[in-house]
């Protein structure tokens, strides 16, 4: 074993990234740039050299926490997360802002932490770490719109995190252990309320991070507001760790109908909204929702083929989505433009970016010879295998929509279309290199799918199998021809309806309406009513019940004191003067009297009790 000499049987790659991230600001010059790229590379190396098993067990509160659950499912996700961290850092090499690098690596490390978590508590720790570091990626753009979007983002994620925590508490109390194993199918309606609630809340917590509507409005809201390089990171980690935990926790062989329909609806939802979008990165964000919908749907289907499909699709998706966001981000970086209505004609000066972007577009559209073709089809076939014809149709519809937007609409309006007159240069070399690497990966997987298939969780001898035992081959004649037909005729439809698709400078309402318009109602309650209750009602009671009567009595006593008791108190007064040297007068002269009253009162009471004995 390579690490024997260190007496470690396992290094946590996530901790490697997180701790390494915090060292970065102290390095200078090319040291720092080298470290930026080497850290994720090292994490990838660690993941590739891992053996299966359980590592990193820690005792806590009488339970065992497992930080290193290594099996094929966690391994494949860890590979793609590390690769993504590497690509993202290459893309971000030109950024001078150290804070962005530290947060991005911490974010990636958190994702690795979630992937290897074998128990709910360590899962939760890394989950929250991811939420905090991703909101920083939004805030670090330092524009007012980013600030407010980030705030909404963190609110939603805090809420989601706490729903998850409530679910975890309920579930673990009922189960008696923290272990993160499959939660099984939906509980029977006569099960213990704690079990039902725990199952549901954990599911909701996971679904929120997966951006399932109606809980997913945070994604199109926040991702376009992040920094150019930060958004590339964000596309990969939050949603895909959610997919991972959904697979781990909720994919059961019998299937979960609720999740299947949610996934299919999600796939179409993203595509519908994308038609209306004007902001390039927001359009791509809606496509994330659409593609994750495929994965969620596969989790619901639950068969071996479906799980393989979800994992393969997640792997491919991270790579081509990153490429797409890199492309749109590159355009944003060199032109400062984000709205499609303002772009056009960029093909003249940015052909390389265009070319690399189109590779990503072909990948997401599942064009043969690209990665999407060999991964998305697994999910659709799994739907077919399960005799779910409506799901099959919905997913295919969404595929058409995907090509429509990412492969046709966006490049058309961004690079071609009416000439906006903008003549921009190609982006910095490191961004192009990162994009080229991602593009190469997309093509490689498409041409040699076996490389990916061998890593999938449910393979037999490195082959993906149907339920009936036959081997799954993506490149069959019917599959290729029907895909080409679908894509080609979608393109036809695009050109026929081109006029309808002109982007308008408008926004579309999503479920975030509830907390955006609704938040002003929230604020008026806290700022207005509640604060008034607190200072008014509750505070006023003090005024009338306590302060006035007591001080009134005190004033009365003071009069007694000065007029009548004074004479008898002379000797006590001498003592008081010495005492008041220590007490010293306050602003009003009353402290002496209060002090006197207090001391006298306590002494009197004590004397009373002693005498009364």
């Amino acid at each position: 074993m390579p690490l024997d000499f260190l007496k470690l049987d396992w290094i946590h790659p996530g901790l490697l990234l997180i701790l390494g991230a915090w060292v970065l600001p102290f390095l200078k010059g090319w040291f720092k740039r080298a470290a930026m790229v080497l850290l994720p590379a090292a994490a990838l190396a660690v993941c590739l050299s891992m053996t299966e098993g359980t590592f990193g067990e820690v005792k806590f509160l009488g339970q065992t926490l497992v930080f290193g659950r290594v099996d094929p499912l966690s391994l494949i996700f860890s590979y793609v997360f590390s690769i993504m961290a590497f690509l993202g850092m290459v893309y971000a090499l030109h950024v001078k802002d150290d804070a962005q690098h530290v947060t991005a690596l911490t974010y990636a490390g958190g994702a690795l932490g979630v992937t290897f978590a074998g128990d709910f508590l360590s899962l939760y720790v890394f989950w929250e770490l991811m939420a905090i570091s991703s909101v920083l990626l939004v805030w670090l753009r330092r524009e007012p719109s980013a600030v407010t979007a980030g705030f909404r983002y963190i609110l939603v994620h805090v809420f989601g995190g706490l729903v998850l925590l409530a679910g975890i508490v309920l579930h673990c109390t009922a189960k008696g252990s923290f272990d993160f194993e499959s939660l099984g199918a939906i509980p029977a309606s006569d099960a213990d309320w704690a079990v039902i609630l725990g199952w549901s809340l954990i599911l909701v917590g996971f679904l929120l991070n997966a951006a399932v509507p109606p809980l997913g409005a945070w994604l199109p809201d926040a991702y376009p507001e992040a920094t150019v390089t930060g958004a590339v990171f964000m596309t990969a980690f939050t949603t895909k760790t959610a997919v991972y935990v959904l697979i781990r926790g909720f994919a059961v062989p019998g299937g979960n109908d609720l999740i299947v329909w949610l996934g299919a609806a999600m796939a179409i939802y993203g595509v519908v909204y994308a038609v209306l979008e004007n902001d390039a990165r927001r359009l791509l964000a809606y496509h994330i929702i659409s593609q994750v919908g495929y994965m969620v749907c596969a989790v619901g289907i639950g068969s071996d083929l479906a799980i393989n499909g979800a994992s393969a699709h997640a792997f491919a998706h991270i790579l081509y989505k990153a490429l797409l966001f890199m492309g749109a981000g590159a355009v944003l970086h060199v032109t400062g433009l984000r709205k499609l209505s303002e772009m056009g004609g960029l093909y003249k000066t940015m052909p390389i970016t265009l070319g690399l972007y189109m590779i990503g577009a072909f990948a997401i559209s599942a064009v043969p010879l690209f990665s999407g073709f060999v991964s998305k089809s697994m999910i659709v076939s799994a739907a077919g295998e399960g005799e779910r014809q409506w799901i099959f149709l919905m997913l295919t519809l969404a595929s058409a929509g995907t090509f429509l937007h990412t492969g046709l609409k966006l490049p058309y309006y961004m690079f071609f279309g009416k000439d906006s007159g903008v003549r921009a240069q190609e982006p910095p070399k490191n961004m192009l290199v990162a994009m080229a690497l991602a593009a190469a990966a997309c093509v490689l997987i498409g041409v040699l799918p076996g490389l990916l298939y061998e890593q999938l969780p449910n393979t037999v001898d490195g082959h993906v199998l149907y339920a009936d035992g036959s081997t799954y081959h993506p490149y069959t004649l019917p599959h290729v021809t029907s895909t080409l037909g679908m894509l080609g005729f979608t393109a036809l439809g695009f050109f026929l309806l081109l006029k309808q698709l002109d982007p308008e400078p408008k926004i579309s309402l999503d479920t975030d309406w509830f907390y955006r318009k609704g938040s002003s109602a929230f604020e008026s309650v806290t700022r207005g009513t509640l604060a008034r209750v607190e200072s008014g009602f509750v505070g006023e009671i003090y005024e009338f019940v306590m302060r006035r009567p007591v001080l009134g009595a005190a004033h009365l006593l003071r009069k007694l004191d000065t007029r009548i008791v004074d004479y008898a108190v002379v000797s006590v007064g001498r003592l008081t003067q010495a005492f008041s040297q220590i007490l010293k007068t306050t602003v009003s002269g009353n402290a002496q009297h209060y002090g006197l009253l207090m001391a006298a009162g306590v002494l009197a009471l004590l004397a009373l009790t002693m005498i009364a004995r």
């Binding site: 519908v272 003249k348 295998e385 149709l393 519809l397 058409a400 149907y466 019917p478 979608t490 408008k506």
Partner: protein, 94 residues
């Protein structure tokens, strides 16, 4: 002028590209249709054991469904947008 500019800005070349596109569409359409018919005649040769639904047997189903989907998505989404979802850009600013 870059390669792409030469291709797209010359009207003659552009028309040629469009023509090849339509040719390609027709080829794919016919290929799909032929395959579907061949599947009915010789099931084993042309790998139909993994199609589960009746509509997969329709000739050129992929092409037709693709066109229909595209049109449906555009029409429905635009309709939803006009009727309900689309607002001014400063809608949320208070």
């Amino acid at each position: 002028m870059s390669f792409l500019q030469r291709q797209l800005e010359d009207p003659v070349r552009l028309r040629r590209i469009k023509r090849w596109f339509y040719v390609g569409l027709v080829v794919v359409f016919l290929a799909e249709g032929a395959l579907a018919l061949a599947q009915k005649v010789l099931p084993e040769t042309f790998g139909s054991e993994h199609s589960h639904f009746w509509f997969e047997g329709i000739p050129a189903f992929g092409s037709l469904y693709g066109l229909a989907s595209c049109v449906a998505i555009i029409v429905v989404s635009k309709f939803l947008g006009k009727v309900w979802l689309m607002r001014r850009e400063d809608y949320y600013d208070s």
